[in-house]
Amino acid sequence: MAELSNQLMAVTVLAYLAAMVCYAAEYAFGDRSHIGRAAARPARELVGAGAPVPPAAPGEPDVLASAPDEADEPTSSAGTPEAPRRDRGELLGRIAVGLNGLAFALHLGTVVTRGVAAHRMPWGNMYEFILAVTLVGSAVWLGVLTRRPAVRHLGLFAALALVVLLGAAGLIAYTPVGPLVPALNSYWYVIHVSTIIIASGILLIGAVPAAMFLIRTGYDEGRRSFPYTLGAKVPAAATLERLTFRLHAFAFPLFTFGALIAGPLWAEASWGRYWGWDPKEVWAFISWVVYACYLHARATPSVKRTTATWIALLGFATMLMNLFGVNLFFEGLHSYANAGGM
């Protein structure tokens, strides 16, 4: 079973890569597809929640805040000379989503077989943790796609993030299947770790529109150097910004529960203190504070949306730091490597 899981893992990465290639192809061909067109339209609908403009004054309606969703849809579609190319882009996009779905299924298989092989929930070490986070990320991405097909052009970047993380999991964090140390043998293990995994998966996908929003705003401001050129074909800035916020606003309470309530409850039962500034705890605290900063900044009228979004990306960087930096470089009660004692 463990062997099967490893093989599935390899196929999963390949499937994501294939999906990524198709997304990329759609991205390349599809500059006149309806998504591309909506994205390339003048920034009329960006005014409302759009970045550089100060948000609506108190009491005044955020008039356009609810408009861009619909505005991303095509207004007129027929009769353009590029129609065949558009179809090709469309087709590639659909294939990409299909491959993405396939990759997700394989990914799920990887995680499940791993759990079966280990006779426990498959998130007992760093490798499994990343596998699970990316699985959630993939699910969230597919979920976002079904609800808002207009953001499909982000697929290239979402798939890229998944491939990079999965690759990192396989290359630096691979651990053979093993049992849990007694300290992890607790129902809190299920509650604490699973909520953090779900929150992290959502935040992972949240970082994609966040980054693309920044790129897109730069593009809209007339910057034409890399990476701003990538902004040419992604959805409108306001759409990206709102997607970013929705994902973060959903993940933040989950993360709060997992890291700042369930975690301390477990720590109290296991180590006797609910909070001890162990490196893992320190970085969870930092991530929480930074993400709180993001939500706070977004609610602060005098702070630009771009600034707020930078904070969200910084939050993601602190999550990565907690995952890689703390696991690999700092020694603490949480590090799986020295969890063998007790």
């Binding site: 009491g59 005044e60 309606p61 805040a65 309530i261 006797g272 504070v289 609610a299």
Partner: protein, 536 residues
Amino acid sequence: MTVVEERPAPAASPPPRRPNRAWALLRNSWRQLTSMRTALVLLFLLAVAAIPGSVLPQRALNAEKVSGYYQAHPKLAPILDRVGGFEVYASPWFAAIYLLLFTSLIGCVVPRLVDHVRALRTVPPDAPRRLERLPQHAAGEERSDDPAAAAAAAAAALRKRRFRTIVREGDGGAWTVAAEKGYLKESGNLLFHLALLAVLVGVGFGHWYGWHGNRLLVQGADQGFCNSVTQYDESTLGPRIDASDLPFFCLRLDDFQAAFQPTGQPKTFEATVDVQAKQDGPWQRKRFTVNDPLRLPQANVHLLGHGYAVILRYTDRYGEQQTKILPFLPRDGMFTSEGVAQFPDVNIDPKTNKRDENLQVGFEGVYLPTVDPQGGPTSVFPAENDPTLFLTAYRGNLGVDAGLPGSVYALDRGQIATGRLKQVSGVRPQRLTPGQTWKLDDGTKLEFLGTRPFATLSVRYDPTQPLVLGGAVLGLLGLMLSLGGHRRRLWFRITPREGSGSVVEAGGLPRTDYPGFGEEFQQVVGAARGDEGGTP
């Protein structure tokens, strides 16, 4: 989003006759401090300030690592120490940041709370003159009933959807219905911020009134202890508590069971203890394990680790025997354990009854629960499958009388270096299995009688834990209400139609970012117009 950054100054006090610059400065600083921007900066600073605590060793977590750091960086360490680098979370600058943040929080939340309570008690404002200017608008539709009835129908539909609704009669037979919903968003937001305060207060009081002690407890009725500061290997009492405040209980380790995977990975641990919770009360048998501590009134006993204590009997040159039970501390996951045995009060001539300081005896070595058949220096399995003890003997002055507290897990290196304590066994350590006796060069004997398990326990009490947990849960609840909620207003204007009947027009205003508002608006308007609506 609709947040008023610049709130009006706190309760306008009577203006001073002359513009008082100090007062103005104070008021401005307060306004600055309680602005959301400042809160943001402070929040950010808090995150940054937390970083060094994960990079530098922290005294509260691991004092030995701090000493190690001192040795590795003798120049840098004292400087870092002076600025609190090894006690980041207790340092004045860390405290300054969070205290400022929470001052800002109070200054921000209290006026908002007042505003919100007022808002909760005021009715939604009347409809603006031109509903078509609002983000959502439904053009007038005709109904057959008169305006009063149409207004009542709209109000009923709105109330059913839990809008706060008020119906007003205007001039010329026109009616308006104003409705607002989503007050829970602001309530939740206030709850979240207030809960943060509760958590801070809880953490602070817990620090003041809590205590903890660590204790290594060897199995056996003769090894038990009763709760008191002196019984702990290491303890901290909160500043507001002293030794006499500790609750009474006595504890004996009756049994310790550890099970391991074939790979040596631990599987389960279980400690069985006898507890006496009241003075002269009965002893009760209790079991606890790693994730399931022993809960006593005002104290929780947590199992942190375990190991083996070696039992040694020394027979001196006058035939006197002394037996000691000596915990050996595990050094790795396979329980290669290190320790010492010190016998300062031996070889006392019974005739003179005088102790010869140079005839004290000490042993140092490792205990391997399962010796490596290939002869390696470390244990190969954590359980006692093939227990073996390797000891080196020393004789001379142990240096334990010098008044300096030495480690009970190592011999005094200084005494060995100066030659006052000499190695008296061969170059290779003596190998002993349980029951074996070792005859030393001077005819004295050391017997390895066996081992007993020990458990390392952490005993703790934190009186405000429930407050902190309650605060955290309420905070989460507030957060979800705040992030999930949407504040919005709807208005209906009903004007009399020429002849009979009425015309119903509606407008809607989302007061926060709310993409689904259009849909809701359509639904509510549809319901408010009812089946009656739409008569052409």
